[in-house]
Symmetry: C2
Subunit: 302 residues, 2 copies
């Protein structure tokens, strides 16, 4: 008998991680429509936008408007912030959940945020404590937790050590990302088993990309390690502009479908999720080819 | 600790199951080139063609030529035969491995081979015994072993009962297929655990389609059930003309890659497998989009 969690929380990252990495700027009202359709599908946690520099990430130039008009406040809406300026903006909204990010790999950090890991940690320590003092839910997204496009394999010890430093700072959640989609199911099982054992009081979330087709196998392995939180992106939108070859996140609809078939509750309505995809598809450049969406459109049994 | 097999055998089904279901007739010499390139990649077992009626399956009209010119005889080359006429043809070759097929679901059998399950079993009993007496390796492909496009969920009891009848006839291998790609990893784990326990002396092979993105997760689950034989189709070619919406088989290269990353030996050379795909790609109508092939072509780390 395999023991899997009875319930799983999906953290929808499409509006942030997804749209941030599409080529085109999606009109602000369409982004809000997309977010509203996703809210109707039942997500209780969502990354809605990021307060990054519009110079570097023009797709997010309307982020303040998105953050202050994203509707429902009884769900956990995350804003991703990369620095002090982002935090200052955040404090002007009524949002109370923040995502910060850092890579395990130094080479990746330097390319991605132009800081070393040590510098990142030094700069983040005080803001994290202030955010916690102000009642924020603090999520840390740990990139390149399995492989780095520049350094190769990342050891479990380095990941756990970095996580430990954030736990000491009082963060609520660690989202552990296979940024370039290279983790194998056994690597996922091993790392998540250790993280769950080492940090039993912290929300541990798995974030997989499907670049080498192992995304759902990795989720199945992580469920066996006791993981009950997964970042997913509706339509499989996204990637990472600073990680060559990182293709989309695992598609929320494929994950929700598989979890349903495993008898695991997610609270997400798949028909409504299809409506959200229909809303965003005309505004992005590539065809959404997730298995569930394609099967649904072909009226296959699901 | 998860216990997985140390070695896995891949039964390459691309030249038969794959090409049979493509729209276009692939020129005979190109089929043979494809088979030769696959042989070089290290496969020890391969479905090379089928002796079906060219009226129903024109893609296989050159099957006798393929069977008598497929080179290497020190590997297990399977020919699929649907009936007595096919067996008579088979006896004119020097091939000593045969694949026969039947669905668990009666509705599927009637559409696929125009016979009920009972009629199929009656007609197959004598030929199977004669083939065994002539020294053939007999593989039975059990379709719709999880779901039927007409009948829905198929019970494990029906599958095991059907397998048992073939085991009584003395067959060597049971290839258990999720024909329409609907099995979940827990369903795969459960059925294969029971089959391995019920038929410890028989080769048990898993055959998954990737229609709902669960193919690799199902393979990972089946490995945990002790399965060490998988049918795969290079390039993900194939489907099933009699099963609406059945898209391609799991792509051999994606499976071999994942198995390699799990530390499991397959004896297959991935670089050579890419060459085989390069040979067949110009002769089929759709773009081969398996994750490994795409990653390889984009020079991503693999």
């Amino acid at each position: 008998m395999m023991i899997l969690p009875e319930k799983v929380t999906i953290i929808e990252v499409g509006p942030r991680d997804g749209l941030q990495n599409e080529n085109d700027f999606v009109p602000t009202e369409k982004k809000l429509d997309f977010i509203r359709e996703l809210q109707k599908a039942g997500f209780q946690e969502m990354e809605i936008t990021s307060f990054v520099s519009p110079k570097w990430v023009p797709q997010m130039a309307d982020s303040f408007h998105i953050a202050t008009n994203c509707g429902s406040t009884n769900i956990r809406n995350f804003i991703l912030v990369p620095n002090k300026r982002g935090i200052d903006q955040l404090l002007q909204t009524n949002i109370k959940a923040v995502a910060i990010f850092v890579g395990v790999s130094d080479s990746f950090n330097k390319k991605n945020i132009n800081r070393s890991l040590k510098e990142s940690l030094q700069q983040l320590a005080k803001p994290v404590q202030e955010l916690k003092d102000s009642g924020f839910f603090v999520r840390v997204c740990i990139s390149t937790a399995f492989y780095c496009p520049y350094e190769g394999k990342i050891s479990e010890e380095r990941v756990i050590d970095l996580c430990n430093q954030f736990v000491q700072l009082g963060v609520d959640e660690l989202s552990i990302a296979d940024t370039i989609g290279m983790a194998s199911p056994l690597e996922a099982y091993s790392l998540f088993t250790k993280l769950k054992a080492t940090f039993p009081e912290i929300f541990i979330t798995a974030h997989f990309h499907d670049t080498r087709k192992m995304g759902l196998a990795n989720i199945f392995a992580s469920l066996q390690a006791g993981v009950d939180r997964f970042d997913c992106s509706t339509g499989g939108l996204g990637g990472c502009p600073f990680a060559p070859g990182a293709s989309g996140n695992v598609a929320t609809e494929d994950v929700v479908y598989m979890l349903g078939r495993l008898g695991i509750q997610t609270g997400i309505n798949l028909n409504q999720l299809v409506k959200a995809i229909d809303v965003i598809q005309p505004h992005i450049s590539r065809k959404i080819d997730s298995a569930y969406y394609q099967a649904y459109k072909k009226s296959l049994p699901v």
